[in-house]
């Protein structure tokens, strides 16, 4: 036996990958069923479901960009401080001082735009192939909630560079919140509930009446902790439900 075979048959390697190399039918099925990552898939599937145009891999790519964003996001967190005094200068440091910092930030930004687009395209694909029909209605609703969370994740992340683009984009958005009926300080009927700019919906979003330190910290925690946890949990349900309902493009 050569050295490779001896390593492949050693106890350590066999304890991690318990099934042999997938060359037989049984091992091909085991490679999927016994794998932590791959067992999201069924062991076998219909020949026509393999076509690219059946789903354009949009759902999988949405999740893939989410993984890229999580990995690049965590690395970016080592170099960024969410304070008004430091945020912008940390962005400049990322660009000029940190090795591959510019590439890291760019990858995070373009993956974010890509994820928003891919999630919308995935929704359109699911709609036009009728994959929301009963009994899959609730999974569609969970998908819409995931779309909202994706948009909110992108929006909260938009503020973090603390540059003009970020500051005024968030100002425009939160000013719309102050125009809400009943709950916004500039909306119709706000006098009925004694709403002013220190207790309206905009104040809740920003943690203050201006876009300042509180808003930056609030959006940072939402972007890095709260929204990813909720989105991750809902994704687990979403993927599980797809398999439970017969798989992607599968029979009911």
């Amino acid at each position: 036996m050569g050295i490779i075979d001896r390593i492949k048959n050693s106890e350590i390697v066999k304890s991690i990958w318990r099934e042999g190399f997938p060359d037989s039918d049984k091992n091909k099925m085991n490679a999927v069923m016994e794998s932590f990552v791959l067992h999201i898939h069924p062991a076998k599937l219909r020949e026509k479901a393999l076509k690219f145009s059946s789903t354009f891999c949009l759902g999988g790519l949405s999740f893939f960009t989410f993984i890229i964003l999580t990995v690049t996001g965590v690395i970016l967190m080592f170099y960024y401080r969410p304070t008004v005094d430091h945020a912008y200068h940390d962005m400049k440091d990322l660009e000029f001082a940190v090795t591959y910092g510019l590439f890291l930030r760019n990858l995070h930004r373009w993956s974010a735009h890509a994820m928003v687009f891919l999630v919308m395209a995935h929704m359109a694909r699911v709609f036009f192939s009728g994959a929301y029909n009963p009994p899959k209605q609730f999974n569609w609703v969970v998908g819409v909630v995931l779309l909202i969370l994706t948009l909110l994740l992108s929006y909260t992340g938009y503020l973090l560079p603390w540059d003009l683009l970020a500051y005024w984009a968030i100002t425009v958005g939160t000013n719309m919140a102050s125009a809400a009926p009943f709950l916004g300080a500039d909306g119709p009927f706000h006098e009925l509930l004694h709403i002013n700019k220190y207790n309206d919906m905009r104040f809740l979003l920003l943690g203050g009446s201006v876009v300042g330190q509180n808003a930056l910290l609030r959006f940072y925690v939402l972007h890095c902790v709260f929204l990813p946890l909720i989105a991750g949990g809902l994704m687990l349900y979403h993927f599980w439900k797809v398999r439970k309902d017969g798989g992607v493009k599968g029979p009911l």
Binding site: K28, M91, Y155, N175, F189
Partner: protein, 255 residues
Amino acid sequence: MAEVPEKKERYRLLAVIEGKTMSRSLDRDLENEDAYTYPHLVYRELIVAVVVFAALCILSIVFNAPLDAEASSTNIPNPAKAPWYFVGLQETLVYFDPWIAGIIVPTLIVFGLMAIPYISSRRKHMKYYSLSGYGRKVVAFGFILWSVLIIIGQLCRGAYWQWTWFGGHLIPAKPTVNLPNILGFAIIFIYSFLWITLPFAIMKLRRADILKKYGIIKYAFATLFSILLFFVPFKIFIRLAFSVKYIITTPWFNI
């Protein structure tokens, strides 16, 4: 006396017929199920993932993410645009007040999307993409409207939100008038009336008894969402064709 034996059923073989068994479910085609996930699906997914990751890496090397000057409450960029996925809503701010464009419209979009499976006409699982059916066309129009608003907001709006033909010179907005309230209410009434009755009349003409199998509640919700969706391009048309800013003005809100 001998006992009379009990009458028993006797099953006799009548015939043997050679052919495919009838005992399979109608939707599954057993011959078409032979692809193994590993390696066929896994390798396809791996290739797509690698291609997309490579594209993102190339984008990240060639194009830099934007970084303006440091945030300041006094330095106001003109125009101050929302991110591209919200710029469609910002564009509707031209035609509606903030409480409609920023609160009502997004809420209706979200609840309308969530409602789609519950008011859909329950067609069989589609094996290919299709635009058949009234509901599918309405939603397709909604997607197109959303995309057009994003393109206009991102590429055709310059300083002070003035119109520009994809980066050309700025065209200032024309002065607008407000309609008297009685005319505004009449427009809304006639618009809703036509939306509720015309599809119903068309169905009666075609003798399609949609209401019986669809139900009055689902039809009502579908009609409501259609009315609200098509009111957006309707108001845009009124504004562009007749320079009308508000069709209803009250001290509390304007439409």
